[in-house]
């Protein structure tokens, strides 16, 4: 006979006990989930000639991430930034991005690599659906070409077409004043170099009808010696030269050009000079080089920008912030604002929140940058051109370019390219 009233081990007691045990054991589990870090994987270049991309990109992103974590994160969940080196190889960059999404449990991928890698990572974003922010690639087609559009991929970097319109507009004015009609191009032979060169000349000619490109030369990316290009330029005798070299390539090009006295023989428009990595590395910076504003603590000339630069230098051993620093800082800030807005790490929800979002930032015109909803790229960042001097502030008088003009011409360009 069974004693139904027997205390202790009846069905109900077992159920109650199980519920209690679940309650006790379950709470720490829930708590662990809440404190689980939000992993974000950054693919970047940490070795070789372009290693400064990695160091400045990660520092730029950390400016925002550390602030977010110090403020308590998202319901106690802090961001863990995992940084890996692609060594500048697009196939390696794609592999790392895939690993972040599929194996490492990263909820956001930061592509802080070169343009060549960005296209490979865009494919990974398409495959995996991971929220992907291209933080350095400036090649316009990455976000402008609708065939490449990925709903969860965005760009927080400046864009080649914007810079070219700005550069063409500035150079056009100078060319008109100084009657600079014969031009030459010398840029690295890859997607960004070709894109930047062709668009710059397109908008130069629009602003100065007499401008004619009488020669072009395309050295390899990371080519150690530019003697053959320099002598070709000297033989061609242009009145002005455009170049979009960057990083170590740019310093080598300037050093080698200086011994040919190239800067005294023509006006040089080198879009990437006005960045502290270049301005401080070159021992004898030639004066009078026309450059786009990459990052300068004095442009925009606001207290917020100067303070941000000072905070960056204080945090990172007095290192100067670079163009990649602000681009990555903006990318991280957009993601953080989206996390806060959606209270979620779901890539689709974050992507929805990013479309058309605006952030308050020292790098925007009037202190704001917007992530455009239709093509997922930023607009309204401060951009302008000026001429170098040998000492700080290096480019004392930056002429800002009006975004109304940039957006109008960008629309035309998109139609010409059949992107819209």
């Amino acid at each position: 006979m069974t004693n139904r009233n027997r205390p202790g081990v009846g069905r109900r007691s077992v159920l109650k006990g199980a519920a209690a045990a679940t309650a006790v054991a379950g709470f720490p589990f829930v708590s662990r989930a809440e404190n689980k870090p939000i992993k974000m994987g950054m693919v970047t270049i940490q070795s070789g000639r372009f290693a400064m991309i990695g160091s400045s990109s990660s520092k730029g992103a950390l400016m925002e991430i550390d602030k977010f974590n110090a403020a308590g994160g998202l319901n106690g969940r802090k961001i863990e930034l995992i940084i890996r080196d692609s060594k500048g190889k697009p196939e390696e960059a794609a592999r790392l991005a895939r690993e972040f999404a599929n194996s490492d449990g990263c909820e956001v991928i930061f592509d802080a690599d070169s343009s060549a890698a960005a296209f490979a990572i865009q494919e990974v974003a398409k495959e995996t659906g991971a929220l992907t922010i291209h933080m350095n690639s400036e090649t316009s087609s990455l976000t402008a070409d609708p065939k490449l559009h990925v709903p969860t991929a965005f760009r927080s970097a400046r864009q080649g077409i914007h810079d070219s319109i700005a550069g063409g507009s500035y150079a056009g004015e100078i060319a008109k004043q100084k009657k600079l009609n014969k031009w030459m191009g010398c840029s690295p032979d890859y997607a960004y170099g070709r894109d930047s060169n062709n668009l710059f000349f397109k908008y130069l000619k629009r602003n100065h009808k007499d401008a004619e490109v009488i020669g072009e030369t395309w050295p390899k990316l990371a080519q150690p010696d530019y003697t053959e290009q320099l002598t070709k330029i000297l033989q061609t005798k242009p009145q002005a030269l455009y170049s979009c070299f960057w990083g170590g390539d740019l310093t080598a090009f300037i050093d080698q050009s200086s011994i040919y006295n190239l800067f005294a023989q023509m006006d040089v428009f080198a879009i990437n000079v006005a960045d502290y990595a270049i301005l401080t590395a070159i021992k004898n910076l030639p004066k009078g080089i026309h450059s786009g504003s990459r990052y300068l603590a004095t442009f925009p000339k606001t207290k917020e920008n100067a303070d941000w630069s000072a905070a960056y230098r204080a945090k990172f051993n007095n290192e100067f912030p670079l163009n990649w620093s602000w681009e990555n800082s903006v990318g991280a800030q957009f993601v953080i604002e989206a996390l806060r807005k959606t209270n979620s790490t779901d890539p689709k929800k974050l992507a929805e929140a990013l479309k058309g979002a605006s952030i308050d930032t020292p790098f925007g015109v009037g202190g704001k940058i917007t992530m455009r909803g239709d093509d997922h790229t930023i607009v309204n960042y401060a951009t302008g051109w000026g001429q170098t001097i040998q000492k700080d502030p290096y480019v004392p008088d930056v002429k800002a370019v009006d975004w109304k003009v940039i957006l109008e011409l960008e629309d035309e360009w998109k139609k010409e390219m059949k992107y819209t």
Partner: protein
């Protein structure tokens, strides 16, 4: 392809002078590295893929010496001597263990050394590129001769590398040491049987190769960006030179380097989009017509 531009250049004195100087400077700096590669292969039959790393170390040693002394001559010597010592250590500790091993094993050892040293450079000098800066003595306007432009610094480099090439030529052809090296390249067993310590000879060839590559790194530092991995491009071109000139021939390395320099220089005028291709085309033609290279010995 712009053959009319090339034609115009060939009949213009100013263009000829500018482009020839440019070809000489590209070629002679390449020779300094390629000569070591060629010697090491000729004598030791070792494919030293790490030779570009020697060049990189030379540039970094020179950079540090220049920071300390502010003297370019001291910096170049420090680059050369530092890498010569490194070459000795490299040969004794690593490469001597793979003499006679399959080429794949030698390449693996060299590749490992390249990766390790690139990281060591990053640890010591940092991951960002460094700029050496032009020494005060060469901060002057280029010389204009018959309309051609010759930078003073490049004129200096051409003279120094030509002197080094001449000294190297004399060392190899006119001295007892040179004779032993040439003999060791042909029949090391016989050299050993004559009572000559081939181990010392082998190590000295690495020291010589290291010295040349280190000097090249130091000499080129004022006009090149210093970065980990900077040796890769030059070692590939050095092997092309070695194939064109003939394995183990210093004269071949000189002619091969100058040919590459001139092809690059004039190629940039006539074939601006195919300059790299021209180098490989030249190598292919030499391989078809004379597989042992222009100065190589048949059946070596």
């Amino acid at each position: 392809m712009d053959l009319s531009a090339l034609g115009n250049c060939l009949i213009s004195t100013s263009c000829l002078i500018t482009q020839t100087t440019s070809g000489l400077i590209i070629g002679l700096l390449l020779f300094m590295v390629a000569a070591g590669v060629s010697l090491i292969f000729g004598v030791l039959k070792v494919v030293n893929f790490a030779h570009g790393t020697f060049y990189m170390l030379g540039a970094y040693f020179a950079y540090t010496a220049y920071q300390i002394t502010d003297n370019y001559a001291v910096a170049v010597l420090a680059g050369g001597l530092g890498v010569a010592i490194f070459g000795l250590i490299f040969e004794r500790l690593l490469i001597s263990r793979v003499y006679g091993s399959p080429v794949l094993m030698q390449i693996l050892v060299c590749y490992g050394v390249i990766l390790i040293l690139d990281d060591v450079v990053k640890l010591i000098w940092g991951p960002d590129f460094l700029s050496f800066g032009m020494p005060e003595a060469f901060r002057s306007l280029p010389i204009v001769f018959a309309g051609g432009v010759i930078p003073v610094f490049y004129l200096f480099l051409i003279l120094v590398t030509l002197v080094i090439a001449a000294l190297l030529g004399l060392l190899i052809t006119r001295t007892r040491y040179g004779k032993i090296i040439r003999a060791a390249a042909v029949n090391p067993t016989m050299v050993s049987a004559l009572g000559i310590n081939t181990g010392v000879i082998y190590a000295s060839v690495f020291v010589l190769g290291g010295l040349l590559a280190g000097l090249a790194g130091g000499l080129a530092a004022p006009v090149r960006s210093l970065t980990a991995g900077m040796g890769l491009a030059i070692v590939i071109e050095s092997f092309i030179v070695t194939v064109i000139g003939g394995m183990g021939s210093v004269a071949g390395a000189l002619v091969g380097s100058l040919l590459i320099g001139l092809v690059r220089s004039f190629g940039s005028i006539g074939f601006p989009l195919f300059t790299e291709g021209l180098m490989f085309l030249m190598m292919a033609v030499v391989l078809i017509l004379k597989p042992s290279g222009l100065f190589g010995r048949e059946g070596r």
